[in-house]
């Protein structure tokens, strides 16, 4: 019985692998190896997006189409930290102070409970406060000094900065002082904006007979955020100089961490403000995430501009001197080579070795998290039946937010890691979104291992199709070779998805209902 149920997926899988390696007969071993490694590379980046996808869809039943945009935002945030650390240091206090006001939400909730206004007055005052906060924001935020780039001026555009970092030269850090408004006014103003906004929203949301507790523990978030914000503000120059003189490896690490944090933050923000009100209307959630992805692309286009640019690899993967390309491990470690020679073919270390390793590490870490930890147990139980978990007294909403943030964070990680090999463009998110969707559909929508398998298949088939585009596929019974152009390659994975879904509507590893 079990074999019979598993037979169809196995047969389909075998068919796919057979197809992939059929035409590989004529390939040289080095080509085969490199193409396979590239497939793993694309597959692991796809997996980082698809893993979040599958977790979110499994637990929340939301097909988060903004996942591709979060991937893109991760890449762009990483680029900013890596290429323009001064901008990063300048912008941090602003974000931290804004967050600090929202961290006082418990205070505003408690305060709004103690106000005995009529419901109508409460609503009106709430909306008024929101409007005042937005007006204040429009006044203060543009006057906050942030060293940045100019989109119209080519010499100071993101492309030029990327190019300079690629060449190893870097403009000295730009330090902007507070000119139009004094620093204390800016700080207090930012706190005021977020506090008013938070208080206004608390008033709008206020329900009768609701009492929030005022506990001292929650002050810590506020204090930590304030201290961090002041730290970034006061030691702006020193921090910028430290970051500028830092080795590119550590800077890249910081960029990756900041990208993941931004993904986590954006994910949590999206879930709590936009997705949560729509849990009773699933199709609207889908449309909302679609809208969010459009807005995200437009925002990125407005901030970083339309043209594509690159994020140069850290020094660890850029060595060319000495015994490069390396033929053994000792050389590789000593000279930090860009490429290694394997079977007589050049393999890029970052793209084809580092990325798959990261993909496997993330796969294992999330797997262990799901299988061994308590929160993972709750997530797995929630995938089975979330209302039952709620019945057991677990705050499933909190777990929903966590999983959404986790998925977004993984996508952002994928974005920043893929940026050095694929470059940054406003279309990168959509491309990867399609890849991840296909991977998910092929592997099974709610299955975590399915996401991994699907991503791997998508990566392998794409890379093999590109290779076939160069060497040509022999068409049976004729002497002609069919050479698909690179532009047509994504169509092959689409075809794979359609075929797999036609045979197995729940994907290769998905459960049948």
């Amino acid at each position: 019985m079990k074999l019979k149920r598993n037979l169809t997926p196995l047969a389909v899988l075998a068919g796919i692998f057979l197809f992939v390696f059929m035409a590989a007969r004529g390939m040289e071993p080095k080509d085969l190896l490199i193409t396979t490694l590239r497939g793993f590379s694309v597959g692991s980046v796809t997996f980082l997006v698809a893993a979040g996808f599958s977790l979110i869809f499994g637990l929340l039943d939301v097909l988060n189409l903004a996942q591709g945009t979060l991937y893109m935002i991760g890449a762009y945030v990483g680029w900013t930290v890596y290429v323009r650390p001064d901008t990063f240091v300048d912008i941090m206090p602003m974000i931290l102070f804004l967050m600090a006001g929202f961290a006082l939400r418990f205070l505003w909730d408690a305060l709004s409970d103690r106000l005995n206004w009529s419901p109508k007055t409460t609503k009106i005052v709430g909306w008024l406060l929101v409007i005042v906060a937005i007006a204040l924001g429009l006044f203060i935020v543009p006057r906050y000094p942030i060293a940045g780039w100019e989109l119209d001026n080519y010499a100071q555009s993101p492309i030029s900065y990327s190019f300079m970092v690629e060449q190893g030269t870097r403009l000295p850090a730009i330090h902007l002082g507070f000119e139009e408004i004094p620093a204390p006014v800016a700080v207090i103003g930012l706190l005021l904006i977020s506090s008013l906004l938070s208080f206004g929203l608390a008033l709008i949301r206020k329900k009768a007979n609701q009492q929030h507790e005022l506990s001292l523990k929650k002050w810590w978030t506020f204090i930590v955020l304030m201290v961090l914000g002041l730290f970034f503000l006061l030691f702006n120059t020193i921090l910028t100089n430290i970051l500028f003189s830092m080795s590119s490896n550590w800077l890249f690490l910081i960029a990756v961490i900041m990208a993941v944090l931004s993904g986590l933050g954006l994910g949590a923000l999206m879930e709590t403000t936009l997705i949560q009100p729509l849990y009773s209307r699933p199709i609207y959630q889908l449309m909302l995430t679609l809208g969010m992805s459009t807005i995200g692309v437009q925002l990125v286009r407005a901030i970083w501009g339309m043209p594509e640019f690159v994020l140069s690899k850290p020094a660890l993967f850029r060595g060319t001197g000495g015994a490069c390309p390396a033929t053994n491990l000792a050389d590789l470690i000593e000279y930090n080579c860009t490429t290694v020679m394997v079977l007589g073919g050049r393999v890029r270390v970052y793209d084809e070795i580092f990325l798959p390793i990261v993909g496997i590490i993330v796969l294992v870490v999330v797997w262990v998290l799901l299988k061994k930890s308590r929160i993972g147990m709750i997530i797995r139980a929630g995938v089975q039946d979330s209302s039952m978990v709620e019945m057991l007294g677990i705050n499933v909403r909190r777990v929903f937010t966590l999983v959404f943030a986790l998925g977004a964070g993984l996508a952002a990680l994928g974005g920043v890691l893929a940026a050095p090999s694929n470059g940054l463009s406003t279309g990168m998110g959509e491309k990867l979104l399609l890849n991840a969707l296909i991977a998910l559909a092929v592997g099974g929508l709610t299955s975590y291992p399915g996401a991994a398998l699907g991503s791997l298949l998508v990566g392998l088939i794409q890379q093999f199709m590109i290779k076939y585009g160069q060497i040509g596929i022999p068409i049976p019974f004729t002497d002609t070779l069919f050479k698909p152009s690179p532009a047509i390659v994504p169509a092959s994975t689409m075809l794979l998805m359609v075929i797999v879904l036609l045979i197995l509507p729940h994907g290769l590893l998905g459960k049948q209902e």
Binding site: L274, M292, T294, P484, A491, M494
Partner: protein, 352 residues
């Protein structure tokens, strides 16, 4: 028994008034502009001609959105590949007029044929997949078409990412010299589609489609072959979207590959959402709102117009889930109920 003719006119009062108003628009604006009616008739008024052009685009969008509303709003099939019907028809019109040089009636025949084939292609999937999987299969099929259109393998036929251009438009509906005629044809097509769709939704078949949207298992339990109904809807929808595609190909000087993109399906979704999902008339309202707001935003804000459009979309999803027409209907229902309540207080109750 009422007279059937009056019945038809009273039932479709709204759309017929819309037809008359729209027919009057070019002439009235022509008068305001200072050109005579004959000048408008012979396509010489500049402002009225411009308005006609805008109107044609709105009508094409409205027909496209209507077909999407039938599929998504009435039957509940969320397809992300709907634009494929539209784009295939547009490209096929272009290719067969330009490269193959077919006469126009043969082109139309070809379009009808392909629209049926496409609908059947989408329908092959229908009995097996449901819900999100259906959405993704349709997305996959449409993306495949988009990729093929964009690829350089077919550049001689489709023009790749530049778009298909330089195709000869049949002289009798040339959008440059015979714009008024084109305008009237698009308008009449829209009105006919709308009336036919309303008739369809009111028919027993249409009722079953609504039942499928609400609860497919229950509809099947009642003995309806739901797949057959879904295929029917798919056929009608595909045919309508193809008609819109033909109009688009004839009207636009360049058939750009963006119409095969997921983004264009989203435009349809957006129109349906703004107007009101499952309301049919919402599609026409939504097309007007979207096209005109997009036009004016683009004119005064430039590039950031898409951002504003995205924000409008999100606001609609969050706060106006029934769309303009849906919300108005709920309001008018409430008003009617209120009147009934007041009347019941004032009027003496009837005995029995």
């Amino acid at each position: 028994m009422e007279n059937k003719a009056t019945n038809f006119f009273t039932r479709n009062k709204g759309i017929l008034i819309f037809l008359l108003v729209m027919l009057a628009v070019p002439f009235v604006t022509g008068l305001f502009e200072g050109s005579t009616l004959t000048q408008v008739w012979t396509n010489q008024g500049s402002f009225s001609k411009f308005l006609e052009g805008l109107g044609i685009e709105v009508f094409i969008l409205a027909i496209f959105a209507l077909s999407y509303d039938l599929l998504f709003g009435i039957t509940g099939l969320l397809s992300f590949g709907h634009t494929m019907f539209f784009a295939v028809a547009a490209y096929l019109t272009g290719i067969s007029l330009k490269t193959l040089g077919l006469p126009f009636w043969q082109v139309l025949l070809l379009i009808v044929l392909t629209s049926v084939i496409q609908a059947l292609l989408f329908s092959v999937v229908l009995p097996r997949v449901r819900g999100v999987t259906f959405t993704m299969v349709t997305l996959g099929l449409a993306s495949m078409f988009h990729i093929i259109v964009m690829s350089s393998d077919m550049i001689n036929l489709t023009g790749a990412d530049v778009g298909l251009q330089g195709m000869p438009t049949p002289a009798f509906i040339d959008p440059a010299s015979q714009r008024l005629r084109f305008f009237v044809i698009a308008l009449v097509l829209l009105v006919i589609t709308y009336i036919a769709y309303r008739r369809f939704v009111a028919s027993p078949t249409g009722r079953v489609c609504v039942a499928i949207r609400e609860n497919e298992s229950r509809a099947r339990m009642l003995g309806y072959n739901t797949t057959a109904f879904k295929v029917t809807v798919m056929l009608i929808s595909s045919f309508t979207a193809s008609a819109a595609g033909v109009l688009h190909a004839l009207y636009q000087p360049i058939i750009s590959p963006t119409i095969a993109d997921l983004g264009y399906t989203v435009v349809g979704l957006l129109i349906v959402l703004i107007g009101g999902i499952g309301t049919l008339s919402g599609s026409i309202v939504g097309a007007f709102v979207l096209k005109l707001s997009d036009y004016f935003l683009r004119r005064y804000l430039g590039e950031s117009a898409s951002l504003i459009n995205g924000i409008i979309y999100v606001i609609f999803v969050l706060f106006v889930p029934y769309g303009i027409v849906g919300t108005l209907r709920v309001r008018s229902l409430r008003t009617k109920e209120g009147w009934k309540q007041i009347l019941s207080w004032i009027l003496p109750k009837k005995a029995g």
